[in-house]
């Protein structure tokens, strides 16, 4: 294994609606920032990989246009995943492990506000038997929340406490969208949105982008940056058929966590990509996190849920905690698909 570090990370302010700037205009400043902060000359970065989806942009091959924000001349080695940027990071990490390149630029972006995100997410389900039924993202998450409540694994109060803590944590994150002090009793008095989910159990709709540079030890040990080492990274998936899954657990997170080596040392903080409150509880159990692990100091996806970037943002936010000295060892998680179908776990150390 080659030692690979995150050398720089940046994200746009996360907002409800980015109506002025297009994707390229959102990406340009943060790509410029991560490249400059990496200390690696732009043309020396070996590989570029992005994560996004045409379903958010409403146009085919929309990711090709985003490459304008990178400066692809002379020609660069470039790839794209129709997934959260966390999986673009995984592809770049593999590319470095294969010895093909020593550094990579990763970025992801999306403007959820242009469409109806919850309904658009229906289209990622099986097109023959599931999508025609039209379950939107919130209804599917509600099915999962209900299964855990019925199994006695958590209560609606536990879920409200997750919402209140994440949004309180977000008060110290200037790029978060939804932050504040919320009273759990008051939250529980609110009507259901899709039973058993209330508004506070659901993520905000967020536009935004994220960018990161990773590099091998010799390249990352530039005196101008504080490398944060990727000690383990793994991703696994569960069936795409909701009916064939035990929705109260996340077996793919359990396995990815084991393979990434979460249990090999003490975890100080965890950044978990849980768009819905009950999912944080499922993930915490799947990763076997102790009570003293600080979860989502950034506020997590309940404070800002930029589709296609929220997973990469968890890894980026965890790396910031380590680079800033607030943690020595962290776990970051990204999810994709309905009800935590696919999960990536990354262990970071200073």
């Amino acid at each position: 294994m080659r030692d690979v570090a995150i050398v720089s990370y940046a994200q746009t302010p996360y907002v409800r609606s980015e109506r002025d700037r297009n994707e390229v205009e959102m990406l340009m400043p943060i790509i410029d920032e991560v490249v400059k902060k990496s200390g690696i000359p732009r043309h020396d970065i070996g590989f570029t990989c992005s994560g996004s989806t045409d379903y958010l942009a409403g146009q085919s091959f929309s990711f090709v246009m985003a490459v304008d924000a990178v400066g692809a001349w002379p020609p660069i080695k470039e790839s794209h995943v129709e997934m959260d940027g966390a999986w673009a990071l995984y592809e770049a990490w593999i590319k470095i492990q294969c010895g093909e390149v020593d550094s990579a630029l990763i970025f992801s972006f999306g403007r959820s506000s242009m469409g109806e995100t919850a309904e658009t997410m229906t289209l990622q389900t099986d097109p023959y038997t599931m999508a025609p039924l039209g379950p939107d993202a919130i209804s599917m998450a509600a099915l999962q929340a209900r299964s855990g409540l019925d199994a006695g694994l958590y209560s609606e109060r536990d879920m409200a406490e997750v919402a209140a803590r994440n949004r309180r944590n977000a008060l110290t994150n200037p790029e978060a969208q939804l932050a504040g002090e919320f009273d759990v009793e008051a939250l529980l008095e609110a009507p259901y949105r899709v039973s058993p989910l209330r508004d506070h159990d659901c993520p905000p709709i967020t536009d935004g982008a994220a960018a990161m540079v990773i590099a091998t030890a010799d390249v990352a040990r530039n005196p101008s940056n504080k490398p944060v080492w990727i000690r383990g990274i793994d991703h696994r998936l569960d069936s795409h058929q909701l009916g064939s899954r035990d929705l109260t657990r996340s077996p793919s997170t359990e396995l990815a966590g084991q393979k990434a080596g979460v249990g090999a040392g003490k975890i100080d903080i965890a950044e978990l990509h849980a768009p819905f409150t009950h999912q944080e509880i499922i993930l915490k159990n799947a990763l076997g996190l102790d009570e003293d692990v600080r979860i989502n100091p950034s506020g997590g996806a309940l404070a800002a849920n930029p589709m296609m970037s929220a997973g990469l943002a968890r890894i980026g936010e965890a790396s910031r905690q380590i680079a800033g000295g607030a943690a020595k060892r962290a776990v970051a998680h990204a999810t994709s698909g309905p009800c935590l179908q696919q999960n990536l776990v990354c262990v970071l150390e200073g």
Partner: protein
């Protein structure tokens, strides 16, 4: 299950997704220009190359394209093709000639129809000018230009166009 049944060979599952699209700062500026009959290019802050339409970034330098300038509606044919097969969503009568046109002052070509001469006369290096639709029909789209037509100016030698071909 002894009963013989016809296999299911097809199902139809209609999908409709609606978007409210906003084009971005640079593209919006371009579209507002076209609405007034102006072709606005944008120059790269680093290398000075002029893009039309610009999406806001120079794809070579990854720098913003902040300076807008009005370009001529005259240009040079960079390449072309004569289309003789129908395509969905294109209601131009067949056959027609479509071309990449480098507007004067731009560093990237632009697609337009060539009319006003026999197809066999269309050639790389030929000088053309936009023929606009009547002003009353102008909207926020490049469809305000109906086509390009040849003008009486000497051809541009290929050596000068090589970079754009």
């Amino acid at each position: 299950m002894s009963e013989e049944r016809e296999p299911v060979t097809r199902i139809i599952t209609p999908v409709r997704v609606e978007y409210t699209y906003t084009p971005g700062i640079a593209s919006e500026r371009f579209l507002r220009g076209v609405r007034e009959g102006k072709l606005l290019g944008a120059a790269c802050d680093s290398c000075g190359r002029v893009y039309i339409p610009s999406r806001g970034a120079c794809p070579r330098c990854a720098s913003p394209t902040s300076e807008f300038r009005e370009l001529s509606d005259k240009g040079t044919v960079i390449t072309f093709c004569v289309v003789r097969v129908p395509a969905a969503n294109i209601d131009v009568p067949l056959p027609y000639c479509t071309a990449n046109i480098l507007l004067d002052g731009a560093d990237i070509s632009f697609t337009g129809l060539i009319q006003g001469c026999p197809f066999e006369d269309v050639r790389i290096g030929m000088r053309v000018q936009a023929v606009w639709r009547p002003e009353s029909e102008w909207g926020f789209g490049i469809g305000n230009i109906e086509h390009f037509t040849p003008i009486d100016e000497p051809d541009v030698p290929f050596a000068k166009l090589k970079e754009y071909s």
